[in-house]
């Protein structure tokens, strides 16, 4: 009898709590999805904390960006979308937009203009990829190397990756065709402007794979962004590709004997999308957050915590010093003129089309 009563009471309490939290969610909570780690921390400091202070909305962090596309699709099929704002790379934003899972964005209407009044669409410029993507940062995939393992002539060109005679040892490359195929062609004598034209053809894809084949036995293939920094720190590899922010943290924060190349760095974008199908109330709040979090000052603030470049032109002059190390962040930005002498902009349209095809060939080649 007593047990039944306790059970009943517990059930009633749970139900009440559940309803209260459901109500609470509607009123003053929002779930923001991002990548976790240092990156989420920079967003917490630059966006979430000031926003919570300003509006009283409680922000719940979910670190699921790596699986955002498949999870959003599953949520959409289940008819219950629990996320309000999602941080994804531009290629994923394009896929989500194509699948109808992300809301379309009118930049001038929904995003803050620059302080001098320049409309958002001009301030972001070409970085507004697709119809649903709200750019936040520019990051790049580039190559780091062990300064103590490259002798007296540290590499200056991306093609050092393919030069096993001058730089013997293992290299780490990402376990997917993107970036690797471009670098392979570039180092096989294809002009930068022709890379994607060549890569469109079956012969061009074979040429890239043949070039990669020359170093296949020396490559460790990574799939998580933390792999290369760890392999570099352990001395497992002589050089490897990873995101520039990870290299910044290995070099400047952890003081490892690591150097980095900016040559042929591949620019990519990361930013927000708002899931399609939110209720009016949640949509309004998500838009309000995004308006706040992508204004000129906020984007510049983020670069205090992580070495990724703000996506707005108007934010660039406001980039200051690192919040803890006190060093100037501008020279560590991938967009800094000194670093951006030879860059590569990830071609979204191309990879949206060719990703499946080239990936099948790439994986078959890997498995051989």
């Amino acid at each position: 009898m007593k047990l039944t009563k306790t059970l009943l009471a517990t059930t009633a309490l749970t139900v009440a709590a559940g309803m209260a939290s459901a109500d609470g969610h509607m009123a003053s909570e929002m779930t923001i999805v991002s990548w976790g780690g240092a990156y989420s921390n920079s967003q917490q400091q630059a966006y979430h904390n000031p926003y919570m202070e300003k509006t009283g909305v409680k922000i719940i962090n979910d670190e699921s960006s790596a699986e955002a596309v498949s999870k959003l699709r599953a949520m959409n099929e289940a008819g219950n979308i629990t996320w309000d704002v999602v941080d994804v790379v531009a290629a994923d934003a394009l896929r989500l937009c194509d699948e109808g899972l992300a809301m379309e964005i009118d930049a001038d209407e929904m995003l803050a203009p620059a302080p001098d009044g320049t409309p958002a669409s001009e301030d972001f410029g070409d970085l507004l990829v697709g119809d649903c993507f709200i750019p936040q940062i520019v990051y790049s995939t580039t190559v780091g190397y062990r300064t103590d393992m490259v002798g007296d002539t540290p590499p200056t060109s991306i093609c050092a990756l393919f030069d096993t005679e001058a730089y013997p040892g293992k290299r780490a490359l990402e376990k997917r065709p993107i970036n690797n195929m471009e670098w392979a062609l570039l180092c096989d004598g294809v002009a930068k402007d022709d890379v994607y034209d060549v890569l469109e053809t079956a012969e061009g894809q074979q040429q890239a794979l043949d070039k990669l084949n020359t170093i296949k036995d020396d490559v460790i293939w990574w799939s998580a962004g933390a792999d290369t920094p760890q392999l570099l720190a352990d001395g497992e590899i002589v050089m490897g590709s990873t995101y520039n922010g990870r290299l910044f943290s290995v070099i400047e924060e952890q003081k490892q004997p690591v150097g980095m190349l900016w040559d042929a760095q591949v620019f990519d974008l990361d930013g927000w999308i708002i899931p399609a199908g939110l209720s009016d109330e949640r949509k309004a709040r998500a838009l309000d957050y995004v308006y706040f979090a992508t204004d000129t000052q906020r984007l510049a603030d983020q670069s205090k915590y992580i070495s990724y470049g703000p996506a707005r032109l108007s934010s660039a002059p406001l980039v200051g010093k690192h919040a803890e190390l006190g060093i100037d962040m501008a020279p560590h930005m991938p967009t800094d003129p000194e670093n951006a002498k030879n860059t590569f902009l990830y071609n979204y349209e191309f990879w949206a089309d060719y990703r499946d095809d080239i990936d099948a060939k790439f994986q078959a080649w890997l498995a051989q």
Binding site: R95, E99, Q206, I220, D234, E236, D356, A364, A367
Partner: protein, 556 residues
Amino acid sequence: MTDSAMTPDEHRRADEAATGPMLAADGRPLKASLNRALRRQKLRAMMLIAPLLIFVLVTFIAPIADMLFRSIENQIVSDTLPRTTTELAEWDANSGDIPPPEVFHALFKDMFIATERKAHTRLGSRLNYELTGVSSLFRKSGRRVDDMGEVYQDQFEDLNGFWKDGENWSAMMGSGSWLSAMGDWNGNKDAAQPIFEARGDIASTLPETTAIYSEFASFVLSEEDNVLTEDPWAVVYAALYDDLANGADVSGLSGNGAAELQEAAAAVAAFETVDFTAAFADVDEDWHSIQVWETIQTYSPNFTSGYFLNAVDMQKSPDGPEMRPENQRLHIMLFGRTMFMSLVITFSCILLGYPVAWILANLPARTANLLMILVLLPFWTSLLVRTSAWKVMLQQQGVVNDTLVWLGIVADDSRLALINNQTGTIIAMTHILLPFMILPLYSVMKTIPPSYLRAAKSLGATNWTAFWRVYFPQSVPGIGAGSILVFILAIGYYITPEIVGGTTGTFISNRIAYHISSSLNWGLAAALGAILLAVVLGLYWAYDKIVGIDNVKLGG
């Protein structure tokens, strides 16, 4: 029946026929009363297991069935391009000609509606799995298709300002009862907007216009906008042109819009028309590529074997299924590797687990319990932690290699490659799955009386004979249970091979995970998963035939 002898059952029946059925105490036939009691018992038993049954059905069977269904499901093509696929059915891909103008005409309508619904890019990414480039073709066409229809819209609007206004359209197209229902509803946010109903005489004179306007109306309704005032899509004007140009007889119509329709009917002959075949080629040359149309035609049916063919490295072609080009074959090799490596892992687990289980079973209880905790300890540690620990242990600058170099067993410049290859996967997975082998072995060995071994020895058997002839056969059920557990778990493993497997140590499940989370090709992932499931069930069946599932013991 030829034999005249009766079975006892027949005897009883014969008795019953003679004397009537045997009765229970309450006067009812005993048989019925017994049946009823049994039925009630069964029902009670069913009710008791019902929660579990429903739970398993809802959370396990149904999602898996739904997922597997995706491996053949392909409604998206005919749902998104209904008119095009119907028109395209008669086109012969081998003729060498691009489809006739009717197909492009239908494509315009389908594409326009799909673009409004934002369904075209979805279809584009679906078809891109089959033919590279379709994704951007659809995305590009979606952006331009709006302009194609405007030619007709502009001409109607220039002809008469009546056509500019959405309210005129709804008044003309809607039935009287719908219009009055809309009047009652009057934009009330809390009430549901009435569903559009077309006017009878308009529907019969202008069938195409009505069909497309109805789609427009249902779309507006789903967007929670007001159908009465919304201006129709450009494609509705194109449909009206089609109806009028096809000689729809509007002279008999009366009521809203009749005069304007009659005016338009007289004018359409002079209208500028759009050549959709050329217009689409103008958007992208690929619309004149036979391959694109062949792909759309091949994938028009609601169900497809395409995903399964892909899962076994084949593809559809006009001449039936054929093998993919050599440089794209991947899955069969991965299936083979998964099986082979799972077998190796199972055997390593037997080799390593058997002695441990033997020691555990033969030690005094107190020591055995302590050792058991050591066996279970890794069990309680997170899988990721254990796998990452192996990474630190096995890498070239790792603990194992450092020790070997320090001992002088391997030279410093030729450290062993123990990770990012098959060796790494086998070592890490053997360790992770070892408890699943040891526990069943232990529980079976616990039940083998030690006196048997002593008896064998006292009868003159050597240690080896006693073990091999007496002890081992009794422990086989444990090996069987452990092997099934380890093998089936290994075959579906994915995190560990992903982290330590490099390129030569990954499994088919890594490919499934890739298609689920990255490429979003769930159909292919489902087909690969279905094959994997079939393989496991097949092996289970074979195991039952060869060893016998009764010989498997999970516990004493």
